[in-house]
């Protein structure tokens, strides 16, 4: 293998597009559709599924807002309200935010780094099926009237065997754990992809910011999700076989759950935020046609946030009665994370500073991010102060704060990403005016909904109350908030309308509607199965804005195997970790039903556990083992 980039060796063959297309085509029929493992199919499924969950979670939010709109309303009783807020939080955190961001990463990071697929396509497909079945498992609780209703944070002892004897919490624990496993799988995929599949010349320093955020969040997932899985297993053991990890009467400790949960739960927030930051950076770079100002410092800040986010979890427990000196360390760490966040925000402002940019819909949503998220960040500094936290912890002030952070910092960037990338993903052009209308309705509706929550917290309104007496005077602001929620919903609805209209019109978007600088815009919209016929050569962070020839030419025979396969085989290119020097051509699997079957049988085993049926559980586990064997069975040489 040669060094990068040796230029001037002209090969005499052009890529064999026909052979490539046939190699990367999916198998025919329903089974062929189900057995797809290509990153674009998997990524698209993640995005669509997560968006459906987002709509379900949003409808639950509207139901809650109706119930809280007036004092002592009878719209939802306490059972239904508690189930609604539990499922709203669980769906938005576990089934929407992380999966949709992972889906965007699975679809676009391979394109951005010039790869043809994920390094382990079948594992990638398994990640999706685990997510889908885990989500359906959680939602299926509604069919048997055992919807989880103890909050997305599931504090013991309320969720333990004594106070939650029904199946509700088992649905939650098993479903969420299944989804967490999917998250870990996707994280491993993305890390390996970025470490080994970057196009020649794309050293880490030239990697797009979004790919950087995908890398950092994937590493965070590896450290943050397993503790929750472990904590959930301990709670399930407490519930099913009477262990006492969390039972104070038998020497367990309910605070242990809080530590484990927030050790996951706080990084989780940044796992969602950082890809949002990457999306906003991408939108700003594209609109200004300028690399992010202070790019290196911004990347360092992303890494710093990833590390610091593991030192904040106790600020969710300031009211628990822990030693004050210990808590002050967590105040300091929570304050500290402001600095890298500030660097990122000012890096965005500095990039925009000279003006001369194009108001793309993605930029509009990104500016919504800055305006909302900065306010949420400021209230975030406030809640990190221990004495102030004693007052506003578990009040509507906190509800306001984290919706500014999560909707401003995650949902607005997700909409920016959808406006930026859906033309690439679908090949359709989207209405600009609908994007603008949808933005303003969502932006205004959001602020009307959540700004009054700060005031309600000051007035003494705690979280998670299904109603409140009229004489407390919380009625008018709650009504305003409810009105705002419906305006927000209208904004989201307009986005759905915009997608539907684009799908009907099928007006072609063009390969590069925004003039983007990263590699996904070098291919067609939507991209062909093999993404790139030739190997892209990368000489900067924005290869498409370079004037040099974007094709890599090694002049060696392996490149011919890559571009002109002489049999039906999917070929990818592995490169070295730091400098992305071509190392070997790798053959990638294309079609497999085993990931689907494995995920299905895990769901069967979990179902057996849920209904205390040892038989179903054992059969499920045996079927899992069989699927694993089938998956690993050496196939015909491709």
């Amino acid at each position: 293998m040669s060094e990068v980039p040796p230029q001037g060796v002209v090969r005499d063959e052009t890529p064999d597009q026909d052979m490539l297309t046939r190699s990367w085509a999916r198998h025919p029929g329903v089974l062929g559709w189900l057995g797809q493992c290509n990153h674009k199919a998997v990524g698209k499924r993640f995005v669509v599924t997560a968006f459906v969950f987002f709509l379900i979670g949003g409808i639950l939010a509207l139901l809650m807002r109706v119930q809280l709109g007036v004092p002592e309303a009878g719209f939802l009783g306490p059972e239904a309200y508690n189930a609604a807020f539990t499922m709203h939080g669980s769906i938005m955190m576990f089934l929407f935010a992380v999966p949709i961001l992972e889906g965007l990463a699975i679809y676009f990071v391979p394109l951005m780094v010039g790869a043809r697929d994920m390094p382990m396509p079948r594992l990638n497909a398994f990640g999706y099926w685990a997510y889908l079945f885990g989500g359906l498992f959680l939602l299926s609780s509604a069919l048997v009237g055992a919807v989880p209703d103890r909050g997305w944070f599931a504090y013991v002892p309320l969720t333990g065997p004594e106070f939650s004897p029904g199946d509700n919490m088992d649905f939650w624990l098993l479903g969420v754990t299944f989804v967490e496993i999917s998250g870990i799988v996707a994280a491993i995929e993305i890390i390996v992809l970025i470490a080994r599949f970057r196009a020649p010349g794309m050293s880490l320093s030239r990697m797009p910011i979004f790919a950087w955020t995908a890398l950092v969040t994937s590493l965070m997932i590896l450290f943050a999700f397993p503790p929750l899985v472990a904590g959930s297993v301990m709670l399930e053991l407490d519930r099913k076989i009477g262990t006492a990890f969390y039972d104070p009467a038998l020497g367990g400790n309910p605070l242990l759950w809080q530590h484990v949960f927030w050790y996951f739960g706080h990084p989780e927030v940044y796992i969602q935020l950082l890809p949002g930051v990457g999306i906003v950076a991408t939108a700003i770079e594209t609109a200004t046609k300028r690399s992010l100002v202070g790019r290196t410092l911004a990347i360092a800040s992303i890494v710093a946030i990833g590390i610091l986010s593991f030192g904040l979890w106790v600020h969710h427990m300031f009211a628990a009665g822990l030693p004050t000196l210990g808590m002050s360390f967590f105040t300091a760490a929570s304050f500290m994370i402001t600095v890298p966040t500030g660097v990122l925000i000012f890096s965005f402002i500095a990039t925009l500073w000279p003006g001369g940019f194009r108001w793309t819909p993605a930029l509009l949503w990104s500016m919504g991010f800055v305006v909302i998220f900065v306010l949420g960040g400021i209230t975030g500094v406030m809640v990190a102060s221990v004495p102030f936290n004693w007052q506003i912890h578990d009040t509507f002030f906190v509800v306001g704060h984290f919706h500014y952070v999560l909707i401003g910092g995650v949902v607005f960037p997700i909409f920016a990403a959808l406006h930026h990338w859906l033309p690439k993903l679908t090949g359709w052009a989207f209405s600009r005016s609908l994007a603008v209308w949808s933005f303003w309705l969502t932006f205004i509706g959001f602020n009307v909904t959540f700004f009054p929550h700060h005031q309600l917290g000051f007035m003494g309104m705690p979280r998670r109350v299904y109603t409140y007496p009229e004489q407390f005077g919380w009625g008018p602001l709650n009504l305003l908030s409810t009105v705002g929620a419906f305006v927000t919903a209208l904004g989201v609805l307009l986005f759905v309308v915009s997608v539907a209209m684009a799908a009907v019109r099928r007006e072609p978007a063009g390969d590069d509607p925004w003039g983007g600088g990263t590699l996904e815009w070098a291919t067609t919209s939507p991209p062909p199965g093999y993404n790139f016929a030739t190997i892209p050569a990368v000489r900067s962070a924005t290869p498409l804005w370079d004037t040099a020839d974007p094709s890599y030419r090694s002049g060696e025979p392996w490149q011919d195997e890559y571009e002109n396969p002489d049999e039906l085989v999917r070929v990818g290119l592995a490169t070295t970790g730091l400098d992305a020097i071509p190392e070997q051509v790798v053959v990638l699997p294309g079609h497999s039903l085993w990931p689907l079957l494995l995920a299905l049988f895990i769901a069967v085993a979990l179902f057996g556990l849920l209904i205390d049926s040892g038989l179903i559980m054992v059969l499920g586990v045996l079927a899992c083992v069989a699927s694993g064997i089938g998956w690993l069975w050496p196939g015909r040489k491709p």
Binding site: G77, P78, E79, N82, G151, Y155, P157, L158, F163, P248, A249, N253, P254, L255, T288, R290, V293, G294, A319, A320, G321, T324, T331, V339, G342, V343, L344, F346, S347, A350, T351, L352, W353, P354, G355, G356, R358, W359, V370, V374, I378, T379, V381, M382, S385, P387, F388, W390, Q391, I392, H393, D394, F458, M459, P462, R463, T467, P469, F472, G473
Partner: protein
């Protein structure tokens, strides 16, 4: 406005002061950031000459990023660390009783507050009476799930966790009634786990303390005795105590001086005869999930029971 920005005790006052410092600093930061964002957004489309944009971006970039992202936040955060730490040290929270303070034990139940005055040796529920102008030491725990004690006009909150004792020191500057409620989700009727702190002048407090410490009076009135008979012979006594009339049970609130309390069911209903009748017949209607079962008394029996309960002053 009866919330935490209308503080009525020294702890809440200090925390409110900290809030206002953070509010003004936060507002200043927000306004400056938005202004710096609006400048280029207004410049918007105006195209800089070739290369000029990069030059401007590079020149102002370092200033913006280092100044706005690092230097200014670090200075502000230094101020906040000191301010927050100072207030945290001034406000008595989860400390030992220095020895001279009135101690009250508060125990969380789904969904009410058991209140015990160990020095005077009696128990009540859901309404804590304290002397105004004196620090009062509350010792907290829970018998079931986690609850959180929060009376915003007096102090921040602290959790009541089973197997884990906590304390908080509250003080009201003036006599008055300060309301609060459970702030940690504790199940079906979390929304109806209200608490009242009633601060009184010292002499009024002492009188109240003396009255509450007394057992229920010996009844002479025939109707009331009939009501008492009904109460003591029914399932009421499995959970409730009327000192002097029944054996002790701490499953439900102590009712020895029930008629002196303002509300029924930890704030679910005002303590009037009509509401009390409704509560006894069907407690789940106004407070779902509480542990009290309904009764099937006939009208006459219900009136006797109401007469008796209303006599427990």
């Amino acid at each position: 406005m009866t919330g935490l920005l209308d503080p009525q005790g020294p702890a809440a006052e200090r925390i409110a002061g900290l809030w206002w410092l953070m509010f003004w600093l936060g507002l200043a930061v927000y306004v400056v950031v938005l202004a710096l964002l609006v400048v280029p957004l207004l410049r918007g489309r105006r195209r800089a000459a070739a290369g000029e944009g990069e030059e401007i971006a590079a020149r102002t970039g370092n200033l913006l990023i280092w100044g706005g992202g690092v230097v200014v936040p670090v200075i502000i955060l230094m101020v906040l660390v000191v301010a927050s730490g100072t207030v945290g040290a001034q406000v008595p929270w989860n400390r030992d009783n220095p020895g001279n303070q009135l101690t009250i034990d508060v125990t969380g139940h789904m969904f009410w507050w058991q209140v015990h005055y160990p020095q005077a040796g009696f128990e009540t529920a859901n309404e804590i009476v304290i002397p105004a102008g004196e620090p009062v030491h509350l010792r907290m725990t829970s018998v079931d799930v986690i609850h959180s004690f929060w009376v915003p006009q007096l102090h921040g909150k602290i959790d009541l966790t089973p197997g884990h004792g906590t304390t908080i020191t509250i003080e009201a500057n003036r006599p008055g009634v300060y309301r609060g409620q459970c702030a940690e989700f504790c199940g079906l009727s979390h929304a109806w786990m209200l608490i009242t702190v009633d601060a009184r002048e010292r002499e009024d407090f002492d009188q109240w303390l003396a009255e509450q410490a007394e057992p229920a009076a010996e009844l002479t009135d025939g109707v009331l005795r009939e009501g008492q008979q009904l109460f003591t012979s029914s399932s009421c006594v499995y959970c409730h105590t009327v000192r002097g009339h029944t054996a002790e049970s701490h499953v439900g609130p102590d009712l020895t001086h029930f008629a002196s309390r303002r509300t029924i069911g930890a704030g679910a209903l005002p303590n009037t005869r009509g509401h009390l009748a409704g509560w006894i017949v069907d407690p789940q209607a106004s407070k779902p999930g509480n542990r009290m079962p309904g009764t099937d008394l006939d009208g006459a029996e219900l009136q006797l029971l109401l007469d008796y309960l209303e006599s427990l002053r």
